[in-house]
Subunit: 240 residues, 2 copies
């Protein structure tokens, strides 16, 4: 945890926050904080800064918060992500949040196992927790928006146009594509459709193509979702 995340309603009018639970435990047992010490903090959805530890005991960590800095800039990326197996999802969501992705929609696909949608990892509260882990790691306060769609086709046909910014570049990595993935200028928003293990099936690639997605190649290597997502983001947002 590189940043202690506070919910806006946890900071009172005198800028005092009283924390318990996971963050109190982490502060006491891992960071071993003492009164007088300063911690890096961020207010979810808002500013970042520091907090002075006023007191700490088994019941509460009491902080005096001073948050005046803006969070880091967004990646300018929206992600259409085929639901990965639950174990992989637990790593992908914090990674996606730490990379500053603007919005994520977890979608069904032909090669996504139906049972994944019953996983507790897809529960809203669990996903929110994974997002916060990523923000704490990256020192950011802005969550990606996060949605789940059990049907891919209606999402692409009916929702995508308003879900992502209008003038964005849309890319679908696919092994048979001949155009390599190239960096896109930071001023242009990018929508990436990243398939499941085994990839999108031809019908799905065709559906994306029909809706303005260009198939791009990542080379011959077959990468796991949790490796592909940061690698693709690194490539598409590389400074040129």
């Amino acid at each position: 945890m590189n940043l202690l995340l506070l919910h806006p309603n946890e900071v009172d009018e005198a800028s005092i926050a009283r924390l318990s639970g996971r963050r109190l435990e982490h502060a006491r047992e891992v960071l071993r904080v003492q009164a007088g010490q300063t911690l890096k903090v961020g207010i979810l959805g808002g500013l970042m800064g520091t907090a002075e530890v006023l007191s700490q005991d088994a019941q509460a960590l009491v902080l005096k918060v001073s948050a005046t800095e803006p969070p880091p800039p967004r990646a300018g990326v929206s992600l259409v992500l085929a639901v990965p197996r639950p174990k992989a999802l637990k790593r992908v969501i914090p990674a996606v949040a730490s990379l500053g992705v603007d919005r994520v929609v977890l979608v069904n696909a032909a090669r996504v196992e139906k049972s994944y949608f019953d996983s507790k990892v897809l529960a809203r509260e669990f996903l929110d927790g994974l997002v916060e882990l990523g923000l704490e790691q990256a020192c950011d306060t802005l969550r990606p928006t996060l949605e789940i769609r059990e049907r891919l086709k209606p999402f692409v046909e009916d929702e995508l146009a308003t879900w992502a910014p209008r003038d964005s570049v849309r890319l679908v990595p696919h092994p048979t594509a001949t155009t390599p993935l190239r960096p896109v200028p930071a001023s242009t928003h990018v929508v990436l459709a990243i398939g499941p293990d085994g990839g999108w099936v031809p019908f799905e690639v065709e559906l994306f193509s029909k809706h303005g997605f260009q198939p791009v190649s990542l080379g011959r290597r077959v990468l796991r979702g949790e490796v592909a997502v940061p690698a693709v983001l690194g490539a598409v947002r590389a400074a040129t």
Copy 2:
């Protein structure tokens, strides 16, 4: 497992391979192979191709191998990697292998916990297993060379010059750097020095700088090793 990896001495003069253990189990229980079926195979350090299943039972999977294709091209990247915590190392090594990194040296650093060097994950046999997982994922047969150095300074001062190709670009991602990380043409080898959680300390950055490494910035976000490695590789090897 997208590719069944065979050791060269497992394939006899008649191109027959008899497998047991993990790969037999995987073929029977996950892939549910039957006689007559074709599998994608690769020979460690050599060619890739297909194999016909001649027979399979609880004792052995018998294959007729035909390997004539070259593995995918290398990334042209050497990695000086501060030893991550063992749990992260288990994910980073397969990722590094799947990305086609040419060589890795796991090094000590001020912010690496001493205890990591006693972890069973650093045992040669365990590391080799992690590398093979990455190759099976990516459909590759070439392992990165993999070494461990418990002292950073002598490695950088005495070994680095001969360890990596002479005319390579050397980069050390560091939060205070002002030059952003940019793609490097594919024809130029890149040496990356990726620090531990918490980063390299100033002394270490200075040591790298003295030996031709340029500090580069990845932006304000603090990324976990397992996210930073694919993101940095994606950025540095982005097609431009």
